[in-house]
Amino acid sequence: MLYRTTGQFKTSYAADHALFPVRQDAVLMVIVLLFAWVIFPLTANEFVFQALLIPVLIYSLAALGLNILTGYAGQLSLGTGAFMGVGAYACYKLITIFPEMNLLVAIAISGLFSTAVGVAFGIPSLRIKGFYLAIATLAAQFFLVWLFEKWAWLYNYNASGAIQVPNMDMFGIRVAGPTASSMVQYYFVLFVVCVVTYFAINITRGRIGRMWKAVRDMDIAAELVGINLLKAKLIAFAVSSYIVGVSGALFVFLWRGAAEPNLFDIPLSFRVLFIAIIGGLGSILGNYLGAILIVALPVILNIIPEVFGLDINAATIEHLNIMIVGTLIIGVLIIEPHGLARFWAIIREKLIIWPFPH
């Protein structure tokens, strides 16, 4: 009833290729966007902005980047954190060398640096496969974090080795730095995330996306049907690193405000990987669902004892927290290895035929 697709006829190829061929999907999308653009910002307080809304968006963007590489092109990467770092440090250098530069432009350019590094570390993927490649991406992870630590030029020879975001304006509005308001930062991030997602959806469902999926499912077979593996894999590394780099720049400039090298260390990479896998590999929607779960869960778990007036000390909560996240990962994998996105797909299927089961 609610999700009835009968009666929606497509009379042209264009209509059939539309982003949302089913009308209800489009309506749902509009509702989600309405929430994201209007209702959340109006109701959220500072804490919700800083601890939930902004990080969810940034993490889902990072997971989207990883998902393109791992979920669509089948190349497992454990180095996401370091590529985020490349984006962040590139953006920092751009901003300090050209203080007049528009932040949006700087972030867009800093993604290019990440792309270059990503492609360089992607070249071995032509010879190395599977877990060997995964470990090889760890080489990037550890080497780059070490470089962030040792290459003093990157952090302008600052004694503490950390980078700090200066106050920055865009069109007269403070967008970054300690005095920027959370709402402005949220809208900035939301804008970037929406734009990148739009492009990502269209890349992944187009020719390039199909090429990636062929490589993922069996690269030898893909090569035999005439797909250029070198090109397909390197494009995947490039697009993925670009998105990851942009998310890294957002991560530091629009959320954290300062960063030290070990912020980009392996736990960050794993966090993004959790999001991508729990959300669902090979899906765009999954990244958002996964990020909501992984980012919001610890925050909520921390609040629950307070809400119910339980007096558990902070350390115990944290221990339980880690255990719950671990259990949850295993649980989701056992119940639905294709992640939360598949959950939604199943719900949608059910809704289409509801209330009449087969």
Binding site: G130, I135, A136, A139, K150, T316
Partner: protein
């Protein structure tokens, strides 16, 4: 010119001019290499028999060591604490098999890999909940591990060899020998290898998948305990130990995911090379701390020439 000198000539001059120091560096490298090899061995065993890339091996090391020390703290004598810890590791192995692995049979590799990360997180939380986060002292003396040191004085300098490091090396060699004997001579060991070669063929001749999985996870647990004792004796037992699991990954790359020999040779090679690189190139030229990445980059370069590692099985791809 100066750079070339620093890169290619000076390090070797340094090595020759202080041979006792060089020997010490190599010894230190070998000792860490033995530990890397032990962790890698745990990975290899599990990968061989089930194609699971077991990320939890590192935390199993911590968990085993903590259980041992924790039991001892609660008044269990050391020599009884060891078998009790082994019992705990067995229960852990059985639980992992029953709860995590069995429902996930036949899933893609990456899903199983993620599940082991889930196990890692769970064990971190669980371990800290029970044993607390404090740094603990390994009960070296109670386990009758000697703690003195030998000093040799070749070439007018000195080389220091700790008895516990020596014990670690000897213990590791014995462990590996027993393991190889078990894998090659016993019925169970052959079953493990059969399962590694071909799952379905092994199942069809009546090898029980779940028994073997519990067994390999238990053996990995034994190796974890050995590693935990040895490493804990060097640096104390705490959750910071967990990061050494990462050191085993380049060893796997270098040696090959399926090869026991590879794990040992790779471990020793990486242990020694990263130490030499750090001391003679890393510290003077690159500002130190190169040990975090050297092994990975080195393994990556080797992999470009041998994509399955030095001793790994040749990858045959079919469409």
């Amino acid at each position: 010119m100066d750079l070339l000198n620093n890169l290619f000539i000076k390090p070797f001059q340094d090595m020759v001019s202080a041979p006792d120091f060089l020997m010490q560096v190599i010894w230190e490298g070998l000792v860490s290499g033995v530990l890397y090899a032990l962790i890698a061995l745990g990975f290899v065993l599990i990968y061989k028999s089930s194609r699971i890339f077991n990320f939890a091996q590192g935390i199993m090391v911590v968990f085993a060591a903590l259980t041992l020390v924790g039991l001892h703290e609660r008044g269990v004598p050391a020599l009884l604490a060891v078998p009790l810890t082994l019992l705990v590791m067995f229960i852990l192995a059985a639980a992992i098999e029953r709860i995590v692995l069995r429902p996930l049979v036949n899933q893609p590799d990456i899903i199983l890999f993620m599940a082991t990360i889930g196990i890692t997180l769970f064990l971190i939380g669980f371990g800290e909940l029970i044993f607390g986060g404090e740094n603990k002292v390994m009960i070296t003396e109670d386990l009758m591990i000697p703690t003195g040191s030998y000093v040799f004085e070749p070439f007018g300098g000195f080389v220091l060899i700790e008895q516990k490091d020596l014990t670690a090396v000897v213990g590791a060699i014995l462990l590996v020998l027993v393991l190889l004997l078990f894998l090659n001579r016993s019925k169970m060991g052959r079953a493990i290898r059969a399962l590694g070669d071909d799952h379905q063929a092994a199942l069809s001749v009546g090898i029980s998948l779940s028994t073997i999985w519990v067994l390999v996870w238990f053996i990995a647990g034994i190796i974890a305990l050995a590693t935990g004792i040895v490493w804990g004796a060097r640096a104390g037992v705490s959750f910071a130990l967990e990061v050494i699991a990462f050191k085993a990954l380049p060893v796997l790359m270098l040696g090959g995911l399926e090869s026991v020999t590879g794990a040992i040779v790779g471990g020793l090679a990486i242990g020694v090379l990263e130490k030499l690189f750090e001391i003679y190139w890393g510290q003077p030229l690159l500002g130190g701390n190169t040990e975090t990445w050297f092994a990975f980059v080195f393994a990556l370069i080797v992999l470009l020439f041998r994509p399955q590692g030095l001793f790994g099985e040749k990858i045959i791809e079919r469409v």
